[in-house]
Point group: C2
Chain length 333, copies 2
């Protein structure tokens, strides 16, 4: 592999001059530029990015941490991040396994050891003690935030979205509405729970204990929740799930118990993963702008890398309540 020295020698100039034409800028004569270009073409020279990174102290690399890329919530976000990063000439280093602080912390150390310029952290726990200063590089939080984190955040207003869901269900005549929540350390799930409670209370509706279940956002948790709700002392007429995966499980659990959706029971999910729109599913859900969440978080990170010193922001994107076939009027009492 030819180095910058080889090119310089062949072009009859110094490495500094080659470096200058490489970066396009700087004052370098047309004649030098031509000689260098010719030498580059002749040698097939390609700059060594690692050497450049060592010298410039920037790697043009972003670190991305997702809990689990095979959860359909994340690929779309990852795509938004990767494409936006690449458009700005950044690469993304990809890691899975963020559902636990120790592992996340290891990945964070590792990424900073690798000198990434910034980090995008999706779906972290509320109790993660992360301060930006600690890591020396900008960090952007996506989807879930942590308590006391002094970091930019990209997501939606989960509380408002949950309120919208409940208002919609009430408008369809539902009064007995169950909620299947996510992990207790998820700010997103907590926001949805809060919105649910508020809207129910404001409407003067009962918050029956049996109607408050929770799971780990897996399909199986939904199946289980459906079974329990069906045999509840007081069976609800609608179930609001904190995510689509559980909602899918709820749908199947309901079918197993021969409860007809939406005639006997309405089901609402959250997230808007593509599966929810399948003809065989047709889940009513809160659609989050996943690609955009990825794109915006990357743009925000890039701003920080540009030196934007403004205080941390919460970027709340628009969501949409997509009404499909799993919800309808409450059954007559």
């Amino acid at each position: 592999m030819p180095t910058i020295k080889d090119v310089a020698k062949m072009a009859g100039v110094s490495p500094a001059t080659v470096s200058a034409v490489l970066r396009g800028n700087k004052r370098v004569s047309d004649i030098s530029r031509e000689k260098v270009d010719a030498a580059i073409a002749a040698t097939g020279y390609r700059p060594n990015v690692v050497a450049r990174s060592l010298r410039t102290r920037q790697t043009r690399t972003l670190g991305l941490i997702v809990p689990d890329i095979s959860n359909p919530f994340y690929p779309e976000i990852a795509r938004g991040i990767e494409q936006t990063a690449r458009r700005h000439g950044f690469d993304v280093l990809f890691a899975t396994g963020g559902e636990d602080f120790v592992h996340t912390q290891h990945l964070l150390w590792h990424f900073t050891d690798r000198q990434v310029d910034g980090i995008i952290l999706t779906s972290i726990g509320l109790d993660y003690p992360l301060s930006v200063a600690e890591w020396g590089v900008p960090i952007i939080l996506v989807n879930r935030k942590c308590r006391g984190c002094t970091t930019d955040f990209i997501g939606i207003d989960n509380r408002a979205a949950a309120r919208d869901v409940i208002h919609y269900l009430i408008s369809e005549g539902h009064q007995d509405i169950a909620f299947v929540g996510g992990p207790g350390n998820s700010s997103a799930s907590l926001g949805r729970l809060q919105g649910y409670r508020e809207a129910m209370l404001e409407a003067g509706l009962d918050l029956f204990d049996d109607w408050l279940l929770s799971g780990q956002l897996r399909y199986e948790d939904g199946v289980r929740a459906a079974h329990r709700l069906v045999s509840s002392r007081r069976r609800p007429t609608a179930i609001f799930s904190a995510d689509d995966m559980m909602a899918l499980g709820i749908l199947d659990g309901l079918e197993q118990r021969h409860v007809e959706v939406p005639r006997e029971m309405s089901v609402v999910g959250f997230d808007g993963i593509w599966t929810s729109s399948l003809h065989g599913v047709q889940l009513t859900t809160v659609s989050q702008p996943l690609y955009e969440m990825g794109a915006r978080s990357t743009e925000q990170l890039l701003k920080r890398l540009d030196g934007d010193p403004s205080p941390p922001v919460d970027v709340l994107l628009d969501y949409t309540l997509v009404i499909r076939k799993t919800t309808g009027p409450a059954p007559p009492r």
Copy 2:
């Protein structure tokens, strides 16, 4: 940020000694080691991986290129790759956009500029003129191969799998079987087509022209194919799709035309993405070991990095024909 020099100074040794204890090996006295460990702890020193990479000429980084991470076929593969890589102390640089040679080539250049140690390339075109030598780093092909590529390949025997599908459908009494293929430059799709033809011919069944459709592996292509097949001069009793996404579209297209599955029409997919197992879907399909494809391709790449000089291999993994609810006996003639 403290450097190795700072640690050396504090420990009263040379940077070379610090480097030695850092890498765990080498002959270094217990006394030196202790002093170095103490200095590392005191300074919070973390080695600069970029500097190390420049010197050792290895970045412990793998490049991964997928056409589209939001296609549910890839996240599971990516997970297998990332986890296997990380277990061996490698990072993965992640890029999307491989459905076109020019872009793929750009990414390949970029990755080699970045000095990745090896590259995993998923689903490339048959006509891509890739030679390993050209790139200077080992490349592993996953899912699709290219003509004349002198590279390791990880995938399944698509031809055999397609034959299994047809044999199964024949055993259910089907004779009029349509095939919806993928892109003509996909070795995987071509293998499936070949298996279909062979098995049909060997069974003495007709290969009616109208029954040979193709698409770009998108849901919409499936919907369209279903519409066409339903109004075909001679309507088939079974449709074999080259992938699950199109099969999902076929299912919905059939429903739109009020064709009942599987009573009037059987449908078989290919890939085994998780959606196919949903209760509302229950697609009969050829399940590929996606995670394992990722894991094995990474292991093969790691072997090459270890200097394994053996000729390129085709690693063919086991697949499973998963029979669910979209197939059944052929309707009476």
